[in-house]
């Protein structure tokens, strides 16, 4: 079977073959120009470290050659020293531990509530008519503006801080979950129904895994928002916490500490994002 079958007209291998209506074989021959390709960017292997190194270099040059006043931006080595001071004194870990704990708890509560409400919106007309407008109305409410009320309601302890984060995480997560549920292939649901699967099983085995990609991307966004809110949450009576550190550095105009703290927050964001990426890879193994 591997050899071409010998058929009467097996002449394709002869490029000079010229049927009746063909162009004269003496006509000029031009190659077919390439016009495809592109529109498929890839992440270059060392792109992201190179970028960060480049930015660092730029920062170094800008502060050392006086392009930027030292008031406006500390030198990289000052920030590095501030960071080292924090790390060696052990303060960094105390700050980090306090923040991570608040962030983790607030995010879990807010994300869980958001997911449940988002699922309800995605599955029930009643929830869609009542909870959806509430979620949409709550999203643009600035959490810092509500801090005085949060203190009155929940005190200055951990509760109000965790609540600030949870509250901020809730809306985007609910919206993501709702979109995810809405996007679940209804054919799969009909299939499950056609096998007489009970509603509970359909929600758990069809809707939940089907909404998982949306939930994970919601987790990604809401984690970023949670980190942003850390600073707002730690405006109130926080002794430790990266947000508190950054705020007090701002109050003292200690720009080196300020920038160090901001970089820590940014690194936290990147770490969480990488972590979710890893989870995605595992949980969504079934995709591509």
């Amino acid at each position: 079977m591997a050899e071409p079958a010998a058929l009467p007209s097996d002449a394709a291998a002869d490029p000079a073959r010229a049927p009746a209506s063909a162009s004269p074989s003496g006509a000029p021959i031009r190659p077919v120009p390439f016009r495809g390709g592109g529109f498929a960017p890839r992440s270059l292997r060392f792109g992201s470290p190179a970028t960060f190194l480049g930015l660092l270099g730029l920062w170094w040059a800008a502060t050392h050659f006086g392009w930027i006043s030292p008031l406006a931006l500390p030198k990289p080595e000052e920030v590095g020293r501030a960071f080292l001071d924090l790390a060696t004194s052990g303060l960094l870990w105390q700050h980090l531990a306090a923040s991570l704990w608040r962030l983790g708890l607030g995010w879990v509560i807010g994300a869980a509530a958001g997911t449940v409400v988002g699922f309800a919106i995605g599955l029930s007309s009643l929830a869609r008519s009542t909870a959806l407008p509430m979620v949409s109305a709550m999203f643009p409410v600035p959490k810092i503006a509500l801090l005085p009320l949060f203190i009155l309601w929940l005190g200055i302890g951990e509760v109000s801080k965790v609540a600030t984060i949870a509250f901020g995480v809730f809306s985007p997560m609910a919206i993501a979950a709702f979109g995810g549920v809405d996007g679940v292939d209804r054919n799969l649901v009909r299939m499950a129904q056609s096998f007489g699967m009970p509603t509970r099983a359909i929600v758990l085995k069809i809707v939940l895994p089907g909404a998982m990609p949306a939930l994970l991307s919601g987790a990604r966004i809401s984690a970023s928002i949670g980190i942003i809110l850390l600073t707002a949450a730690e405006m109130i009576g926080a002794r430790y916490g990266i947000g508190a550190l950054v705020l007090s550095a701002g109050n003292l105009m200690a720009t080196d500490q300020l920038v160090a703290g901001v970089l820590v927050l940014s690194a936290m964001g990147l770490t969480v994002s990488k972590g979710i990426g890893a989870i995605e890879k595992r949980v969504l193994r079934w995709r591509a």
Partner: protein
């Protein structure tokens, strides 16, 4: 178990899709439903299977389904409807999981169903790794795993290429010869209808009405490409559907 439809009609938001369909599917019989796109074939099948409430008429079952049947009316969907996050075996197991079966019995049913369609080696593959024909075979295995009394198949092969389709038709004929399942087989492919149907029900353009029922006496496993009886039935049906198809194809979908 027989499936009996009486005076079925359906409309979506005032658009009448089906009108006065009466039809009996006897136990062990394959009824092919043929009609142009949009004539309501899928709607009719959904009503037969209890997934859509008929606007007029009713659907009934006569006689008890076999005791082993977990899901008397079982669909095979055009788009396979495989759950992408489950392996082949997981997909076949899905409709068994909410029944009280022992783990061993469940595993046995899955293995048997996969063996029947020749996919035993692919039990732990994900749907994305399968060719179209294998996907559809998985869907068929899933349907057989619940021991259906009636199979409701909605254009089960239309997403496949011609050669693969041909292979699966042979699979289906073999399965029918072995198990004598009952089926309603929706298609808009005349050749397929003639190859698989004991009777071919031809629907008109929307609103779908029964235009004709063609009975084909030749036994399924003896039907061949060139056979004159099949050729005659095909010619007859082709005449019926041709004009309707051309008209339906030139219709704009509003909405």
């Amino acid at each position: 178990m027989d499936l009996i439809a009486t005076g079925l009609g359906h409309a979506y938001d005032g658009l009448t899709v089906l009108d006065d369909i009466s039809l009996t599917v006897a136990s062990g019989e394959i009824v092919a439903l043929l009609g142009p796109s949009g004539c309501g074939k899928s709607t009719l099948l959904r009503m037969l299977g209890g997934l859509e409430r008929p606007v007029t008429g009713r659907v009934e079952m006569r006689g008890a389904p076999p005791a082993a049947s977990l899901n008397p009316l079982t669909y095979v969907f055009q788009d396979f409807a495989l759950v992408p996050w489950r392996t082949v075996a997981g997909n076949v197991a899905l409709p068994l999981e909410h029944h009280r079966l022992g783990a061993a019995e469940r595993a046995r049913r899955v293995a048997e169903a996969l063996a029947r369609v020749g996919l035993s080696d692919f039990a732990s593959a994900y749907p994305r790794q399968l060719s179209g024909g294998m996907k559809q075979r998985t869907a068929i295995a899933r349907a057989f795993a619940v021991e259906p009394a009636v199979l409701l198949m909605d254009e089960p092969l239309s997403a496949l290429d011609a050669q693969t389709r041909d292979l699966l038709i042979e699979d289906l004929v073999r399965l029918w010869t072995e198990t004598r399942f009952t089926a309603v087989y929706v298609t808009h492919n005349v050749a397929e209808a003639v190859r698989l149907g004991h009777r071919v029900v031809v629907l008109s353009r929307r609103p779908g009405r029964i235009r004709a029922v063609v009975e084909i006496a030749e036994p399924l496993d003896r039907r061949r490409e060139g056979s004159p009886a099949l050729g005659a039935a095909r010619e007859q049906i082709w005449e019926l559907v041709r004009g309707e198809a051309a008209a339906a194809d030139r219709e704009m979908v509003h909405g």
